[in-house]
Amino acid sequence: MGNSVLTDRTQSGVARIALPSPQTSGTIYYSMILKVTDITNLNNTTTGSFLAGLNNSIGAGASIASAGAALMIHRDANNASAYNLGMAVSTANADRVFDTVAHDTSQTLCVVGAYQFNPGADDDNAYLWINPASSTFRTNNVPAPDVSSLGLTSTAAVSDIPTNQLTSVFLRNNGVEPNQIQIDELRVDTTWAGVTGGVPEPGSGMIVLLAAAALGMRRRRAACES
């Protein structure tokens, strides 16, 4: 069985992994299962912090200079023990848009983010879905998003990802986050179906997995699968 990833607000480092190929057009989706396991020290109720997203560089580096479809979190303004998730087409404060639904540490959420390239300048968009309907899983029936961060309507100077490409996905520690967030089952794809229960790319262990399936072993549940 797999493990998961834990963030730590006392640290500020990032881990990123390259996408198999650079993405320069269309819509790029990512999904994960997310649980805030310790909400202590999540104090910001406005612009919050981004904990994950897509990036335009690969390999080691000193900092995440930019992010596309940044997954945001802040404390719910009306409930100190709850949080809201949000989405930002870039990291600019003007692009940060939050959902109003309060979530707490008892909840495990299916989260889908997306970055949409558009042809003009400063017109790319980002979207967020929280616990989307399972009837849409493994289909290309993309539901209406819960949050939209639109480049054209924001007042940020530039919302489009610099160099107009997405080449990696990252997970981030940051002091504005709660004490701990648990993340699992990360997927990135160019389709909704691909991030809502699609089968992982066949790897070297595929044959072993197929044999195990034939023996009647229980199949591991896919990400965001009901």
């Binding site: 069985m1 493990n3 998961s4 997970l171 089952e185 790319e201 595929m206 034939a214």
Partner: protein, 71 residues
């Protein structure tokens, strides 16, 4: 057991025929608990990809692997 081996053999034959389906990138984080995420190699994609560290200075560790799954 015989059926299982036959199934695996047939699957092996079919792999080059059917294109890879599913996500461009998938990571179930089946790494050692307590380790940093950076440096871990994802063998769920082909070719395998390794998480890179981004940061500098004090208190700049990246996220770690935790025990247990959410799935």
């Amino acid at each position: 057991m015989t059926k299982a081996l036959l199934f695996a053999w047939i699957s092996c034959l079919l792999l080059p025929v059917f294109p890879a389906s599913g996500a461009l990138l998938y990571d179930g984080f089946g790494y050692t608990s307590g380790a940093a995420l950076s440096g871990q190699t994802n063998n769920d994609v082909s070719p395998a990809l390794t998480w890179a560290y981004v940061g500098s200075g004090a208190n700049s560790a990246d996220p770690k692997i935790g025990a247990g799954s959410l799935s």
